[in-house]
Symmetry: C2
Subunit: 206 residues, 2 copies
């Protein structure tokens, strides 16, 4: 595309580096910015600068935080003996939104994926090991993606940590609440039958 202005082109170029945003969408966004008050776009630019300059990660669980220790790790009411291992901060937010989990987290920062060149060394596994060594951890819950990479990551962690006196669990896989059986994929259906639970227990939990 030929842009009538270098300033315009550069803005489109930078925006289109973001995932899922092509040149056309970027141009649409840029024109929107030109049609709204200048201050709004300045606020956006400021927020992005602040983001990359001021963001911190919790020293304990590695979630995004405004302090050295995140609000969850710093909360004495949370049960620090139960650690939920997740891939990224979105998973923490999703679980926190349910309001039902009272333990703490450990954010790996991704999952083992040889295809993407991500090995165990790039994930926060060393620090998880240290937490289990130094804190009195009773249970480790794997809340990882139900994909090859997620399963590989869980298996790797289990192998590394299995000699510690810790119970390992993984979140249940099965038919989603409200989902119809006939639309479930085969693998999920198989898992939901294999991992069936006593009826009475299930209804009490629901």
């Amino acid at each position: 595309m030929n842009y009538p202005s270098k300033v315009l082109e550069r803005a489109v170029e930078e925006i289109s580096h973001l995932p899922g945003i092509g040149k056309r969408t970027a141009l649409r966004l840029v024109l929107h910015m030109l049609n709204r008050p200048v201050s709004q776009t300045e606020n956006l630019a400021n927020a992005l600068n602040h983001l990359v300059q001021d963001i911190q990660y919790c020293e304990k669980c590695h979630t995004i935080s405004d302090a050295h220790i995140c609000q969850i790790c710093a909360n004495p009411l949370r049960d620090s003996s139960v650690i939920c291992v997740v891939e990224d901060v979105r998973d923490v937010m999703a679980i926190e939104n349910t309001g039902q989990f009272k333990g703490v987290y450990h954010v790996l920062g991704g999952r083992i994926s040889p295809m993407d060149g991500i090995g165990p060394g790039q994930l926060q596994i060393e620090s998880l090991l240290k937490r289990i060594e130094n804190e009195s951890v009773g249970e480790l819950i794997f809340a990882l993606s139900s994909t090859m990479e997620g399963d590989t990551t869980a298996f790797y962690l289990y192998k590394v940590l299995k000699d510690f006196n810790v119970n390992f669990s993984t979140i249940a896989r099965g038919i989603g609440v409200g989902d119809e059986l006939e639309y479930a994929d085969e693998a999920t259906l198989v898992r939901s039958i294999q991992n069936r639970i006593p009826y009475v227990e299930s209804t009490l939990k629901g």
Copy 2:
């Protein structure tokens, strides 16, 4: 959603003000920014600041430009007696990309749309009037959206300008090149029949 960090929340908030980007997508973009080199996001922020601070509009045709007069208006090889009236800079770019139009443009900056509170006063109509008064304009091509608002805008312009010694034309509406007739909508099909052109002329142009 509960965000674990104010810095994160503010960035998500600002990004989600953009059209077509919800909170979830904004969060995905923000996490992407945190996983790439800081300089890339700083470049983006800089580009946005430059955009809103340094952008200029051509004094003649009102397209986005890096100078007072845009490259097209300043080009002596362009035929300034033929003005193509468009809604915004994307239309200019689309037509320029064809490389077939040798005239100049006039960017209205939108279309008359009472529903969105946009009247003729908010569009660059006054300056189009001045161009026709002062320059020797032979033809005015309406290249506006084929919508109620686009048609209204063309009709309004025609009413305002019809006493000048200028030929008015509008871009052809019809079945797109490569499109199948059976999938065309009714209105387009009707227009394509009503505005049929002699066969020989059409094949020569093609």
